[in-house]
């Protein structure tokens, strides 16, 4: 099959981050600074992406502000014609840097929110003082009028604060609030038993979001990612594998989704060796789960297969041990019991300490 050109690219500039969120979507095997692509290579990747048809660039990490060349990189992306979205915890964004980013044409900021109070947020983020710094940055963003989305990452420990989260987002002048319940990849998988919300919390969150959505029409838009363990059907991960977006890791590895490296039998190409276009159209990893021909039953004969493409490959691997299985979140999956059991186990696990993400102390060998 011929793939359409990609629309969006997630550029993980670095895995470094002052925070240590226990649900961080970065892999548990974090890359250290010495593995990161240099400024020129990133700029070239941005130009290649724009030429291929990418319209939206999500500048992420780790914490992208940990890169001293963030302004230069944003400028290169804007000059390539990309819509630039900075995904940040806010730590490291000084007023001076915000000025510079605005000047080179940064379009939008997505600011993450760990919690609504310093106590909660700094505990979750594993970084004391982080909340206060974030609030200062949020005010600086608001004063400049930079379009802002607040990304509230929700789980068992902060879902009960949803009403307050919504109020805060309005006060901070966010145009959009993403209520993103944790997805269980990377570090979140490690902490799953402590992070999975209860069924009551999930129902309550749906009610609160839909009420707030009505009440705040014209003031703030919502995007809600419910915890998929409680859904009947899976999410269409990335809108279908290799169909709309791609992800470049700090060392230049190109992935169909941010968690794809968890699939051990796939080989992922690197922008240091091949062009982005070759990787998108021709590489084995991008073609592995494109379209619907590869889908197993029950998906093959299901009328939702063009809607969710059988769900998330990484979730199928994590829970079923087979990346080409039907996402077990689906109630039609022969392995749906795995999700039911995981929920039960999580609800019965006593409270334990969270495992915070951290970089390896010894740098990984370059292979």
């Amino acid at each position: 099959m011929t793939a359409p050109p990609p629309i969006a690219m997630l550029a993980e500039l670095t895995h470094r981050c002052p925070l240590a969120c226990p649900y961080c979507s970065n892999p548990t095997d974090l890359l250290t600074r010495d593995h990161e692509l240099d400024t020129e290579t990133w700029a070239d990747v941005f130009r290649q992406a724009a030429e291929m048809g990418v319209l939206q660039l999500h500048i992420s990490g780790g914490e992208p502000a940990s890169r001293p060349d963030l302004v230069e990189l944003t400028q290169a992306a804007a000059e390539a014609g990309l819509y630039t979205n900075l995904i940040t915890s806010g730590v490291g964004l000084t007023p001076k840097r915000l000025d510079a980013l605005e000047q080179v044409g940064l379009d939008h900021i997505q600011l993450s929110l760990q919690g609504t109070t310093a106590d909660l947020a700094d505990w979750i983020g594993g970084y004391k003082g982080g909340f206060d710094r974030k609030m200062k940055v949020a005010t600086e963003i608001k004063n400049r009028g930079i379009p802002l989305t607040l990304n509230a990452v929700m789980h068992r420990h902060n879902l009960d604060d949803l009403e307050r989260t919504i109020e805060m987002a309005v006060d901070l002048g966010a145009r959009r609030l993403e209520v993103a319940c944790v997805q269980f990849h990377g570090w979140a998988e490690t902490n799953r038993d402590q992070l999975l919300p209860t069924l009551e919390q999930t129902k309550e969150a749906k009610r609160i979001v839909s009420e707030a959505e009505n009440r705040l029409r014209g003031t703030m838009a919502f995007d809600f990612v419910p915890p998929d363990y409680y859904s009947d059907f899976p999410k269409a991960c990335m809108g279908g594998w290799g169909s709309t977006g791609l992800n470049v890791t700090p060392d230049g590895t190109v992935l169909p989704c941010h968690a794809a490296e968890s699939i051990p039998h796939l080989k992922f190409d690197n922008v240091r060796d091949r062009t982005l276009s070759e990787i998108w159209y021709k590489s084995e990893a991008f073609n592995a789960y494109r379209g619907t021909d590869w889908l197993p039953d029950p998906c093959q004969s299901c009328d939702r297969k063009e809607i969710d493409f059988g769900g998330c490959r990484c979730q199928a691997l994590a829970l079923v041990g087979d990346a080409s299985a039907t996402d077990p979140v689906c109630h039609k999956s022969p392995h749906h019991q795995k999700v039911v059991q995981a929920l039960e186990a999580a609800m019965n696990t006593p409270e334990q300490d969270l495992v915070y993400r951290k970089l390896p102390t010894v740098s990984k060998q370059v292979v």
Binding site: P5, D107, G145, I146, R176, G218, A221
Partner: protein, 95 residues
């Protein structure tokens, strides 16, 4: 709240929302925070008249004249399109 535009409202694209030529796929695209919307001919015709100066009633009159269609008939379609954008915060109005 209803987000329907009043006759005197002057719609505009807020900061962070813009229309570009899609060099690869052709046509025009509305770019907004974390969203790209390919515009069809009608969407393009409407948004090309959204400039923060033109009133909603004048915009409708202009479209009616250009496409030789009765204003009452197109008002509904244009409202639906613009209200959808307003709900996503991709469009704002000067009252």
């Amino acid at each position: 709240m209803t987000l329907k535009l009043l006759a005197g409202d002057r719609p505009f694209l807020p900061r962070g929302v813009r229309i570009i030529d899609d060099r690869v796929r052709g046509g025009k695209v509305l770019l907004a925070p974390e969203k790209a919307v390919a515009l069809d001919a009608i969407g393009e015709a409407i948004l090309s008249r959204v400039d923060g100066e033109t009133r909603f009633d004048a915009l409708i009159a202009d479209l009616a004249a250009t496409y030789d269609a009765p204003a009452e008939q197109i008002t509904g379609d244009v409202q639906t399109f613009l209200v959808g954008l307003r709900a996503r915060m991709f469009l704002a109005v000067h009252a």
